[in-house]
Amino acid sequence: MRVLLPLTEVSDTSVFGSKAVGLGQAVRDGLPVPPGVALSGALVEAVASDDGDALALVAAAVGPLGGPLAVRSSAVDEDGAEASFAGQHLTLLNVPSAAELGTALREIWWSANSDSAITYRKRVGLFTRPSVAVVVQALLDPECAGVMFTRNPVTGADERMIEASWGLGEAVVAGLVIPDSYRVRRDGQVLERRAGLKRVAIRSLAAGGTVEEDVAAELVEKLCLDDARLVELSGLARRCEEVYGLDRDVEWAFADSTLYLLQCRGVTRVGGS
């Protein structure tokens, strides 16, 4: 079915994938998710095939989001697979307008149907045809962003592990910097703070796309997160667990002093366990 819905109404994983449904659930539960729409796998494939009607439908729906867009993959059959698919599916940031959206969706469709994606699927036991849905949201311009695992993924200890850097969270996700590293106990007590080496930040460009910028010297080893922010992140971790369950991989960002949840998915293999 070629459908699209605002995130708040998304609930069918067989159509929209678990990432989109997860975000939809987060919105319904009052978690701070940037507003957006979800496109079904079939709709994404139609746009990838250069179907004009499909593209027009999408363009009309994303108009109200205004400004630059973040376009994220939401694979439809990742549920049940013992894998995170981390990095397998494209996230395209700062797509400036509908025209570029068509190209963006095609790229996302192909990334789900690439040799490496198929190789990855076979390796984790999935032999069926991939289907990739998409979430389109307003793009943030964060001061700092990163990733939080609600359980330490290397040792399995019951503590939150947070990595943060300046600008868009891509810098942390794509491993472009040595991020700050924080470990916070479940009750909020900070166990460790280690400043990273954050030489670059990813920021969005006015004309679309993103750019890698050098970080000012005095910020390279300055901690991004103070106690107040760590408290907020701790709270977010708890709320994510309440909504989704334990062992979550959370992408977050602080923009205009507000904490946003960008993605929340299950952590599959945890070391030490």
Binding site: A117, V124, V147, L176, S181, A195
Partner: protein, 545 residues
């Protein structure tokens, strides 16, 4: 043909239960038999002492020697003592008990040690009979052992206040430890070689033209030092006092195989010249401290002042505890041993006087009083072994790696603060020297467990992907999604940037490939095609030359 001449394969087995690691920072070379006999018991006595004094969660540190190579392990604290250790840690942090140790050091330990050093070094070994010399060697050994214990006893007080300062101020300002340690400059004149004796000597030389002439001459350094020490009046006396203080200090390292200052007169003379010529006063730490303090949030500034004061007060103990303890005592033992060695070599019992350094004290006695002892060949073989083997030829670790660190939640605040201070200090204060010694070892974040050895391939872009073959170790700045295509081929991943939650770390864990990320300089330090070992448990990458 003696046993020592038979070629045998060296076996490295764990010297005890637990996990043992090399300590190439302190012991970059193989050690003498003397050292391997004396050090272990004296060392653990000192570390157990500080661990208990500070209420630490370890029983102490132990060192053992396997084929002359040093290995260290951490001993667990006795279970039944843990509650009182928690209490002790609290008491230490609130009562600043390191000040008691500093007072003890200044008022009794240090003066007593110096007195004993002077007493022993005033003996002329060449004037002693064989029996007397054997006894003297035993006294020097006992003193050396006591000084090793003393050095370790004061270890924690040297680093806890510094680490406490680095931890708190680091949190408040975001400044890295390396920068904050700069504020300690001037707090330890001993590190810069200063002492009252040096000052007096410099003052005397500056007002004595004969001394200045001697200092400027090109003559043989040993002869020049003799001449300076023989000058009449205050100058000569000051020089003799200075040489008395520093002459028997080992210039580098801890083993009696290392040279002492008087044996390297050229270096000693240069130190004196530099001291006489330099105009340097105390570096301008005040201004920098004010600048750092300004970056501290207002509500913490009083704490900053307190922590800063403690750190500076205790900082000199870091170098004093070695220089006035075992670094001096080792030089005295060396002097005695070389004297005995000359005697035995003259009697045909040794091929060279220095070979006696490779005997233990019991063997030295046996040789002197004629009741047996190792042959000249045996000792020569030991010396040869020691000078041709290094930690690099030996396994980096022995024994089973430790379990993951225990959950530190539930620790009382006193001990948590203590552990954080110690951890940071060990990393910052000793870390930089660690890096100098690990030319072939790279550290990063342990992203994905397991150990893998393979060929390193430096790949910076998809254009170079064709160079990777099955089983290679990918070494790159950071991995983008484009690199996913390589994953089925790789045996390990090493990156310059990236954290534990970056996608390459996540994928490495999922693929079960050992991974070390955030090394900063893997692409600069590892050569393409080199054989490497990726240790994803320890977060280390070792290159095999």
């Amino acid at each position: 043909m003696t046993t020592a001449e038979t070629a045998t394969e060296l076996r490295f087995e764990p010297p005890g239960p637990g996990f043992w690691e090399q300590d190439p920072v302190h012991f970059p070379r193989a050690l003498t038999r003397y050292w391997t006999e004396v050090h272990p018991a004296a060392f653990v006595a000192g570390t157990a002492d500080f661990a208990s004094f500070y209420g630490m969660l370890m029983g102490g540190l132990a060192m053992r020697y396997v084929n002359g190579i040093a290995y260290k392990t951490t001993l667990p604290a006795p279970e039944e003592e843990i509650p009182q250790r928690f209490a002790r840690a609290d008491a230490v942090m609130t009562g600043k008990l390191w000040r008691d140790q500093l007072r003890e050091w200044d008022e009794s330990a240090k003066p007593a040690a110096i007195a004993k050093h002077r007493e022993l070094q005033s003996v002329d070994p060449s004037a002693l009979s064989d029996e007397e010399l054997a006894e003297y060697l035993e006294r020097c050994r006992d003193h050396h052992a006591a000084m090793i214990t003393q050095h370790m006893r004061y270890t924690a007080s040297a680093i806890v206040p510094t680490g406490d300062f680095l931890a708190h101020v680091g949190d408040w300002t975001g400044l890295p430890p390396s920068e904050l340690l700069g504020l300690m400059r001037g707090a330890s004149p001993v590190s810069a070689g200063a002492s009252a004796e040096l000052e007096r000597m410099v003052g005397a030389i500056r007002s004595d033209s004969r001394a200045q002439e001697l200092l400027a001459s090109d003559a043989d350094p040993a002869a020049t030092l003799d001449a300076l020490a023989s000058l009449e009046g205050d100058t000569g006396a000051a020089v003799r006092e200075y040489l008395d203080l520093v002459g028997n200090r080992l210039l580098d390292g801890f083993d009696i195989a290392e040279p002492s200052a008087l044996e390297l007169p050229d270096q000693l003379l240069r130190t004196i010249r530099a001291a006489v010529e330099s105009e340097a006063g105390e570096p301008d730490v005040e201004a920098r401290a004010v600048a750092v303090r300004a970056q501290v949030p207002e509500e913490h500034r009083d704490s900053f002042d307190e922590l800063f004061a403690e750190a500076r007060l205790l900082y000199r103990l870091r170098d004093e505890r070695g220089v006035y303890s075992d670094i001096w005592a080792a030089g005295i033992m060396r002097r005695a041993t070389l004297s005995a060695g000359r005697r035995l070599a003259a009697a045909g019992r040794l091929h060279a006087p220095e070979h006696l350094l490779d005997a233990d004290v019991g063997e030295m006695r046996a040789l002197l009083v004629g009741s047996g002892g190792p042959s000249a060949d045996e000792l020569a073989a030991r010396a040869d072994y020691r000078t041709t083997h290094s930690p690099k030829d030996a396994p980096a670790t022995l024994g089973t790696p430790p379990a993951p660190p225990p959950d530190s939640s539930g620790l009382p605040p006193g001990i948590a603060r203590l552990m954080r201070a110690t951890g940071i200090a060990m990393g910052a204060v000793f870390g930089s020297s660690q890096e100098e010694h690990d030319e072939n070892r790279l550290r990063g974040l342990a992203a994905s467990p397991g150990i893998y050895e393979g060929t390193a391939r430096l790949v910076s872009s998809p254009a170079e992907f064709g160079r990777i073959t099955q089983g290679d170790v990918l070494v790159t700045v950071s991995t983008s999604e484009a690199f996913n295509i390589l994953l089925p081929l790789l045996g390990g991943i090493v990156t310059d940037s990236g954290g534990l939650l970056s996608h390459s770390a996540i994928v490495a864990r999922e693929y079960g490939i050992p991974g070390v990320v955030g090394t900063r300089e893997a692409t600069a330090r590892i050569a393409d095609g080199a054989r490497v070992r990726v240790d994803g448990d320890a977060g280390e990458v070792t290159t095999f030359a």
